[in-house]
Amino acid sequence: MTQYIIKRIGWIIFNLLVLSLIAFILIKNVPGSFLELQILIGQAGTMGTGLTISEVEKVRGVETEMMKRWGEDVPLWQQYLTFIKGLVTLDMGPSFRWPTQTIEEIIANTFPVSFTIAILAVTIAIIIGIPLGVLAALKQNSWIDYLVSALVMVVSAIPNYVMAVFVIFLFSFWIPILPTYGWGQPKNYILPVLAMSFGPIGSIAGYMRTSLLDALKQDYIRTAWAKGGTERHVIFGHAMKNSLIPLVTILGPMISHLILGTVFVEGMFGVPGMGQYFSQAAGSRDYPLMMAQTVIFGLILMIMNLIVDIIYFFLDPRIRVSRR
């Protein structure tokens, strides 16, 4: 097992290198630059009339001075190496867009927020989704099953940015009990987590229903019935246990998806998470931050997969055997 993990970590490092190289090449080919956008923003806000193109041209002339500060004047390969070195030594320098913050600080500040929200959303989804799925499976083809299945499908088809609007109006306008916006207090977590948990509730309930139905058809369950096990024992002791194991495999990707797939929800509720930072970094050509976020999110994804595999390894004896 240890050997397996070491091997996997080796691959993660290799994959990260490939990812960072691809991301670097792509990002360097994105048209536009941070500075040009700065000028654009400055113009839009103030006396930028269309006629002062010559003025803009002049500002463009001093680009190089500005770029030196960000290390843009050095050759590409050197920039890449600098980035990798920064990544390894955890010293990636300041972001373009948020110049008072280093990239490490941004990630250290935002990742826990996104992670907490994702974990909370998934937890809620598990708490609600599993019983729903079990209920639907046990009462297969009854009206409860149809209701739950329909609910599950509808809920998982609504993107979380639409859900966000609905929950905001439901819980802070029509039933005004929660704040729409803000951060810092526990109650600020409720709406974003709620908005983000609907999709996972749908997929977990749906997953649970099918896998429990499958499990109930298996031979060993029939054997357990035949042996005269009580209903509760058969369902919760045998079938549930075996249908929960595959659930682990969808939780990993789900969490990593939620960590970044939340740009809109973050903006709506004022959650200082990673998602907004990235889309803004991309929008304002904050190259160091774009690079760092891509690589770090890739890392999160890979670690998530590894954790899932390890958990799976310990949960499912069959895998343990086949993997020696």
Binding site: N15, L19, V154, A157, V165, G261, V263, A282, N305
Partner: protein, 285 residues
């Protein structure tokens, strides 16, 4: 075998029989067909061009003249919905076909030839699989510029890995089935085995995966439009219409409900078809 039994029911007609038994799935399929037809015929069905401005009628709630109301420019939301549907379908089908082409080819090659080819290809798949697809989508659209094709490419660039994995797995398991061995023993060449024996037998899961993937692609596109990277406005897209509508939910709720409802409806009907297909494919007789 009794003579009464109708013979010649192929594998596919069997699946179709099973699929037909699932009412929800059939309903979904009918709906998908209707949606695709609507999408194709949007230019003829839409009562107004998608960008025609009616000043006198801005923010009109749904009425006889404007079936789904109008937006801040008095553009007919119903027409815009039809065009959005068309875009969603173009993006969904386009990106999925690209995914299928890449994933099927590489998966088939990896699974069929095995060995080093397989190792290398699967290593690439692993790497792509661990890419943060959302971020790469954004970057790719930025690099390629906006437009259908770049959206296809951006989505397919990360989406093919799943398909390749599926096809490879299916190819591996089909390859070891006896009828493939029998064909090989009879002297059938690689191409014949791939295209006449393996491909027809893995196409079922591939079709399921296409159908179940389309909603995801549509959501990615609407997510991209939400941050201004989807299809080019004024060409409408659900993501764009939703983002216009969210700020107005309080006073013009139809502006959000109409596109969101259509998005959900489309995704649902594709999901119904996918689930029906899955059940029909997995049920053994």
């Amino acid at each position: 075998m009794g003579n009464k039994k109708r013979i010649g029911r192929s594998y596919w007609s069997n699946i179709w029989e099973k699929f037909k038994r699932n009412k929800l799935a059939v309903f979904g399929l009918i709906f998908v067909c209707i949606l695709i037809l609507l999408g194709i015929s949007a230019p003829w069905l839409a009562p107004y061009p998608y960008d025609e401005v009616h000043y006198e009628a801005v923010w009109t709630p749904p009425c006889r003249e404007f079936l789904a109301g109008t937006d801040q420019l008095g553009r007919d939301i119903f027409s815009r919905l039809l065009y959005s549907l068309r875009n969603a379908i173009i993006v969904g089908l386009g990106a999925q076909s690209l995914i299928v082409v890449i994933g099927l080819t590489l998966g088939l090659i990896a699974g069929f030839y095995g060995g080093k080819t397989d190792n290398i290809l699967m290593r690439i798949v692993d790497i792509v699989y661990s890419f943060p697809s959302y971020l790469l989508n954004i970057i790719l659209v930025l690099v390629l510029g906006r437009g259908y094709f770049s959206i296809f490419v951006a989505i397919a660039a990360t989406g093919w890995a799943g398909m390749a994995r599926l096809v490879r797995g299916q190819t591996l398991s089909t390859k070891s089935r006896d009828f493939v061995e029998a064909a090989r023993a009879s002297g059938a060449g690689n191409n014949r085995i791939m295209f006449r024996y393996i491909l027809p037998n893995i196409i079922g899961p591939v079709i399921y995966s296409i159908f179940s993937g389309i909603p995801g692609v549509m959501l990615v596109e609407s997510g991209l439009s939400l941050i201004g990277l989807g299809v080019r406005p004024p060409m409408p897209s659900w993501g764009l219409m939703i983002s216009e509508g969210t700020g107005q939910f309080l006073y013009n709720p139809y502006m959000l409900l109409a596109p969101a409802g259509m998005l959900v409806l489309t995704i649902l009907s594709f999901n119904f078809v996918a689930f029906g297909l899955r059940d029909a494919l997995s049920a053994r007789e």
